[in-house]
């Protein structure tokens, strides 16, 4: 793996992060740095702590950071509220997007888009202007307009929920997007749609973290780095070839690694 010249400052720095919930330690010293323009993949066994890491970066109130720091654009965000993190440009695509019965998807998308726009000093959008914007983004994820009139994710199929996550990401234009298994449960066409959505927002200023179990997403979007997580730590980092290696070897070797350390 060729080490790139880092000309700009990192977007996200996770430094030796320890976190627990109900005194149960889950993260045990995670370090990860993402520079603008980079795509990182995180892989690892079920239960090793990938989703927990993503939720902690997004500010989930159920987890306590017991040691270490999370920095976003150089500033420590350990104690920022989830909405403040989101407004400033951190996006988490959920492994299991939440259904919110009774809240209209359209209004939900509009209010969240406006929260981000307000932070960016952009004009907030009324229903009409927002309709225009959202139409264009719907095209991107090939979703039907009818999804907007339903409650947030309610009754959406697995794949539709994931596309709704990409739609939200496209509307919020984040600086860093953490996509937790957005590729799981997608059919081949939906995977391409999601991949092209990710490519659309990926540019020289943004960072992307893909949490995934499958090579097929990484075939569409080649990561600069692949990290392997085990028992709450990143135990190995490599280039895109590491993913292929994992595909062959599986994760058993990571158990030995955990035992050794």
């Amino acid at each position: 793996m060729a080490s790139k010249m880092k000309e700009s400052d990192p977007i996200l720095e996770v430094e030796n992060l320890f976190a627990s919930t109900d005194n149960l330690p889950i993260l045990k010293g995670v370090s990860l740095t993402v520079y603008p323009g980079e795509i990182h993949a995180i892989m690892g066994r079920n239960g090793c702590g990938k989703s927990t890491l993503s939720k902690i970066i997004a500010g989930h109130p159920s987890y306590n950071i017991t040691n270490g720091d999370i920095k976003f654009s150089g500033a420590n965000i350990n104690s920022l509220e989830p909405e403040e993190r989101a407004q400033s440009g951190i996006f988490l695509g959920f492994q299991y997007p939440i259904e919110i019965p009774g809240v209209s998807n359209l209004e939900f998308l509009r209010v969240s888009t406006n929260a981000r726009r307000k932070f960016l000093n952009k004009e907030e959008l009324d229903t009409f202007d927002f309709e225009e914007l959202v139409k264009e983004k719907l095209e991107l994820v090939k979703m039907d307009h009818a999804f907007l009139t339903r409650s947030v994710n309610q009754g959406f199929s697995g794949g539709e929920k994931k596309r709704n996550e990409i739609l939200q990401m496209a509307l919020l234009e984040p600086k860093i997007a953490i996509l937790d298994e957005t590729d799981s449960g997608l059919d081949i066409d939906a995977l391409r749609i999601v991949a092209s959505g990710i490519k659309k927002i990926s540019n020289a200023q943004t960072g992307i973290i893909l949490i995934t179990h499958y090579q097929r997403l990484l075939d569409e979007i080649e990561p600069n780095y692949v990290h392997v997580m085990a028992d709450g730590q990143i135990i190995k980092t490599g280039g895109s070839d590491l993913a292929l290696e994992l595909e062959k070897k599986g994760y058993e070797w990571t158990d030995n690694f955990v035992k050794e350390t």
């Binding site: 909405e83 019965p101 009774g102 939200q168």
Partner: protein
């Protein structure tokens, strides 16, 4: 017995109408609703006696409608103000029912009354003097929207009655607004008769002020091929009951209901509905939403009756509920009584509160906690509100009222 005494002692006893006498007589045999019956068992006894506590008022002081007219063409009527209504235009006519017509119709209604089920109507009709009964006969097409106001003034018990005949092939938008002033009780009974092929978008918006009470009873008879759409909103009452009874007299009619009640503080608001399919091919789509905050209590009970004669009925009833506080209470009970065998009926109820994961999800999208609950509330209203025939600027006013703490 007190209520009977009160009605009897009312100084206008001498000019009691025949209808008043009939209803009073019926009330005498059982002066109060049966507190053990399904319809009344959840009603708060002390609040119900708050309702009955005021002295009877038959004369309204001048009443100013608190919001602007929908548009120039809107027809506005206030029950209790003496009018002679006779609007005859090229396409339509709106005329007051004659005393005979009114008498005949109400008496017929009374003959079907069930003592307990129609207790609110019996009370209403024994209290309503001629001046407070408005009867209209509507005919034609391209009728401008109609608004009808009922209002209870402070420190008194007021009764208002509305009777509407919608003639064949006629369709209207009708908004009924019931307003209760501080410390007041309003008894409102409405009798709606939809003839063949007629259709109505009926909005009922009821709201009170500090410690006002409401007994709102709505009786609808639908002839064949008629369509009755009801959107209603009840809020800000110490005690309120909205009783809806709809009868598709020969089936083959459509009924859509979207009703909502919002309770705060220690308020109790309930909605009782009874939909009676008295013929085949009836259709019902019903949604009730309750939203309860603080230590308030909201109740919804809906019954659907599908007798043998009502084959191919297609009925759906849903009750959706939102508890905003741990001390609030919502009781909901959709009820089906199906005897016919070839029918499609579904019903259901849900009670929800934003949970931690839902909140976290919204927050990761930049939505703050207060915004999240506001969003939930406004989405919650939207579905009902879009069903009530009211203009946008009017809603801004209601919106303000709804958002009051």
């Amino acid at each position: 017995m007190e209520i009977i005494e009160k009605i009897k002692n009312n100084k206008l006893i001498d000019n009691q109408t025949e209808i008043q006498k009939i209803c009073l007589h019926k009330l005498q045999s059982s002066p109060l609703p049966n507190p053990k019956s399904e319809l009344w068992r959840l009603s708060n006894k002390s609040k119900f006696s708050d309702f009955l506590d005021y002295s009877i008022n038959e004369k309204d002081p001048k009443f100013d409608i608190p919001y602007p007219k929908n548009s120039q063409s809107t027809i506005r009527l206030i029950i209790g103000e003496s009018y002679q209504i006779k609007i005859i235009e090229e396409n339509y006519s709106i005329q007051q029912l004659s005393e005979d017509e009114l008498d005949k119709h109400i008496k017929e209604q009374i003959s079907y009354f069930d003592q307990n089920e129609n207790w609110s109507d019996l009370l209403n009709l024994s209290l309503s003097c001629t001046k407070n009964i408005l009867g209209l006969k509507i005919n034609g097409s391209k009728i401008p929207p109609i608004e009808i106001f009922s209002h209870a003034s402070s420190n008194s018990l007021n009764a208002k009655t509305l009777v509407i005949f919608l003639e064949k092939n006629c369709d209207i938008d009708l908004l009924q607004v019931n307003l209760g002033e501080e410390n007041s009780s309003l008894s409102q009974s409405t009798f709606f008769c939809l003839e063949e092929n007629s259709s109505v978008n009926h909005g009922v918006v009821s709201y009170g002020e500090n410690r006002s009470n409401l007994l709102n009873s709505l009786n609808v008879i639908q002839q064949k091929n008629s369509e009755y759409n009801l959107g209603s909103l009840h809020f800000k009452f110490n005690f309120a009951r909205f009783e809806i009874r709809i009868k598709q007299s020969a089936g083959n009619a459509k009924t859509n209901i979207k009703s909502m009640q919002i309770t705060k503080k220690d308020e109790q608001i309930s909605t009782y509905t009874k939909i009676d399919f008295n013929g085949p091919n009836g259709f019902l789509d019903q949604l009730n939403k309750s939203l309860a905050d603080d230590k308030s209590h909201a109740i919804f009970e809906g019954s659907i009756i599908v007798p043998k004669i009502a084959q191919k009925t297609d009925a759906s009833q849903l009750s959706r509920n939102l508890l905003l506080s741990n001390l609030a209470q919502i009781d909901t009970k959709p009820q089906l009584e199906i005897i016919a065998d070839d029918v499609k009926c579904k019903h259901g109820a849900t009670i929800s509160q934003l949970n931690e994961e839902e909140l976290f999800y919204m927050r990761t999208r930049g939505i703050t906690l207060p915004e999240a609950s506001k969003l939930q509330l406004s989405s919650y209203f939207q579905e009902i509100i879009s069903f009530i025939p009211v203009s946008k600027d009017r809603w801004d006013l209601l919106d303000k009222l709804l958002n009051e703490k």
